[in-house]
């Protein structure tokens, strides 16, 4: 709006200037015409003045002629004629200086001085002539004297006439010169100067218009830049808030700020936010990033960490306060997690060291038990002690299992992920537990739906351990299930024995074709307790990932355990069997491989699903 006002006012000014210049031009032309006319009038007057001088001179000559005639033959008629002439002459004299023409003439030559003195004399002469008698003999002489007395007047009039003539001649010459040099010249000059003025005005206007265009372009560029800046402010992930420092009223927020506090500027949460920021900042103008670090309760119980700066800013021509903050809650949480991880790593190292140190006394105990047993052997009645020694030895084995797991668990993850054949590793792991599964009457089948060239990335030994742990877990689940069901199934003892017999037969078959998928007459996953024990391992590739599923039919995992299955020491097993670290270690290893492991109850048992990134490239580096 200011821009429009600015553009209109020079237009008016320009129009005013143009009108004024045209008016001035017309006025100048008018003045010129007037002056020319006045000059013509003046010239006419001057000519008339010449006429006055001439007539006075003419009257003088006529008077002198009358004097001369009378001097020869004085007569009454002649006397009267002379009187008339004298009076005419007398009347002419004041006209030389006391008329329009005479006043003009008196500017050129002094007409009053030389003539006025004769006016009185002329009056006297008129009187004297009136008294003269034409019959008198002395009259002629008297007339001659009077005529001579008037001679100086004749000279004076002669001078005036000559000067008047000379002046008129001068004027006449100038006029002729003017006529020769066209009188339009000054007018043309006037026009030219007017045109110049107009041109200057037009040029100036043009330049002003160009300047105005420049200013407009600059203003457009400024507006575009402002628009861009606004877009940037809208896009930044930081919360940008402009608030009135006196009323705490918020005048501007960007989407991040809207998401943080409220999308409505009139929300009472905003003044509260501004006051909280001001209270936390301490100083009103601290541009340094991080000068503002505060906790803000978005709603009761939802407290977030904010970090940023507060500064004075000129916003829409008013001094305002600019608040820029970033929600650092996640960073804070990440920091806490890192700290926690570091703490866990330290704990892991400590646990590893402790496990190692524990192995020394365990070794000594183991040796001592062997020696004690040897010493006891020849003695009669030592059986109860031997049983105790056996228990000691078994407990040492248990402690060893725990320390082994702890050492594996506490091991730092390898930085480098090496490719290895997934199928190969799973088969090795299955092979490792095959004997135990046979002993426990469990049919283990591996269904490898991927080529041997499919690679996963990690440490193969550790990954094999993961599969082993999951398989052992399945095996133990059957034993737990068996213990649970022993009471219930006492009456069906006979049936069970038949089943076990069949199971052992299949076990023998499996020995010959250890890893072949299970085939058999019995349905693979019948109801628990009545079906044969089965664990199926399947490997599939889903896009860029490999999915390894281990499914048993051991009755599943209680829901409460399922949730914390991968936490250390969350075990359902008897203390003789489990350390409570196997699945926790499995999760740790899978996580190191950028994969996941989940457990769920499916059908008549539990299913563990391991998902890890897999690739078919670098097949030449297939692990041996």
């Amino acid at each position: 709006m200011i821009l429009a006002r600015n553009s209109r006012s020079p237009g008016l000014l320009k129009l005013g200037l143009v009108v004024a210049s045209i008016a001035l031009f017309l006025a100048t032309a008018l003045v010129y015409v007037l002056q020319t006319r006045q000059q013509a009038f003046l010239t006419a007057t001057i000519r008339s003045s010449g006429w006055v001088a001439y007539q006075a001179q003419l009257e003088f000559v006529k008077t002198q002629a009358e004097f001369a005639k009378l001097a020869i033959v004085p007569s009454t008629l002649g006397m009267d004629k002379l009187m008339l002439r004298l009076e005419l002459l007398r009347s002419r004299l004041p006209l030389l200086y006391d008329s329009d023409e005479g006043r003009v003439l008196s500017d050129i030559v002094d007409t009053r001085g030389p003539t006025q003195i004769f006016e009185t004399r002329l009056d006297q002469i008129i009187d004297e002539v009136g008294k003269l008698d034409p019959e008198d003999g002395g009259t002629a002489r008297e007339l001659k004297r009077l005529s001579q007395e008037l001679d100086p007047l004749g000279e004076a009039l002669q001078t005036i006439l000559m000067q008047s003539v000379a002046y008129n001649q001068e004027i006449f010459q100038r006029e002729r010169a003017l006529a020769q040099r066209p009188g339009a010249l000054p007018l043309v000059m006037l026009f030219v100067s007017g045109a110049c003025l107009a041109a200057v005005l037009i040029l100036q206007a043009r330049r002003d218009r160009m300047r105005l265009n420049d200013v407009r372009e600059a203003q457009a560029a400024l507006a575009a830049m402002e628009e861009n800046l606004r877009a940037v402010i809208q896009a930044v992930p930081a919360c940008v808030v402009v608030a009135d420092p006196d009323t705490d009223k918020v005048n501007f927020i960007n989407p991040s700020a809207a998401a943080l506090v409220s999308p409505s500027l009139d929300d009472p949460a905003w003044p509260r936010f501004v006051r909280a920021v001001r209270a936390a900042a301490g100083e009103p103008d601290t541009r340094r990033w991080g000068a503002l670090s505060m906790g803000y309760a978005r709603s009761p119980g939802d407290i977030i960490s904010l970090r940023g700066s507060v500064g004075a800013v000129l916003w829409e021509r008013r001094p305002q306060q600019l608040i820029v903050v970033v929600d650092t809650s996640q960073v804070r949480n990440a920091e806490l997690q890192v700290m926690q991880a570091a703490k866990l790593a330290t704990l892991g190292e400590m646990a590893t060291a402790i496990a190692h140190e524990l192995n020394q006394p365990l070794a000594v105990i183991k040796m001592a038990v062997a020696n004690a047993r040897r010493l006891l052997d020849p003695l009669p009645g030592g059986e109860p002690v031997a049983a105790k020694l056996e228990r000691i030895s078994a407990q040492v084995d248990r402690a060893k299992r725990i320390t082994d797991q702890v050492r594996r668990y506490g091991r730092m993850p390898t930085e480098q992920l090496l490719p290895f054949s997934l199928r190969h590793a799973v088969e090795l792991a299955a092979g490792f537990v095959a004997e135990q599964f046979r002993a426990a009457n469990i049919v283990l089948s591996v269904e490898a739906g991927v080529p041997a060239e499919l690679l996963v990335f990690g440490e193969q030994t550790m990954f094999e351990q993961v599969i082993v742990n999951v398989l052992i877990n399945a095996r133990d689940a059957f034993e737990t299930q068996e213990l649970r069901e022993t009471q219930e199934l006492r009456e069906t003892q006979e049936l069970r024995e038949t089943q076990e017999l069949r199971g052992s037969q299949e076990s023998r078959e499996a020995r010959d074709n250890r890893l072949a998928p299970a085939t058999g007459d019995a349905p693979p996953f019948a109801a628990a307790g009545t079906a044969r024990r089965e664990v199926q391992v399947s490997i599939r590739q889903v896009e860029e990932r490999a999915v390894i599923a281990v499914q048993d039919n051991a009755g599943g995992v209680p829901e409460d355990i399922l949730e914390r299955m991968f936490e250390p020491f969350a075990t359902t097993k008897s203390t003789e069997k489990g350390t409570g670290l196997g699945l926790s270690l499995a999760r740790s290893v899978v996580r190191d491989m950028n994969g996941t492991i989940v457990a769920e109850n499916v059908g008549a048992g539990a299913r563990f699903t391991i998902t890890v990134p897999a690739s078919l490239i670098n097949a030449s580096r297939d692990a041996a």
Binding site: N359, L362, A363, V364, M367, A368, N371, E459, T461
Partner: protein, 130 residues
Amino acid sequence: MNATRSMLICDDEEELAHELGEYFASLGWHVALAITAEEAIAQLRGGLAPQVLITDLRIGAVDGRQVVAEARALPPALCPALVIIITGHVMHNVTAADLDSDFLYVKPVDPTEVLDDIGSFLAGVAPPPA
């Protein structure tokens, strides 16, 4: 029992060395003990000539591997026929051969297992004189 067999046990864990030594001594072995690697090396150089060398790996300033190296460097008459390492450390992908030994056990180990392995090894490598 066969002809008298001899053994050098090197472990800074004194009780363990004693228990292990007692176990084999009770079976008729000549057992020498060393608590440090230096001691073990001195005994080996001094012409102890044990048939079996059992050593820990981390035993003070001088490593058990050095004891093994010293033993392997001895002239054939003094060189132990069998070198066994019993260590408290779990090392991934490390085999007995990597440490230039014949058997590698991780503590705690049952001495009967060690005895069985020694028996079968010596029976194969150096059949005792009839």
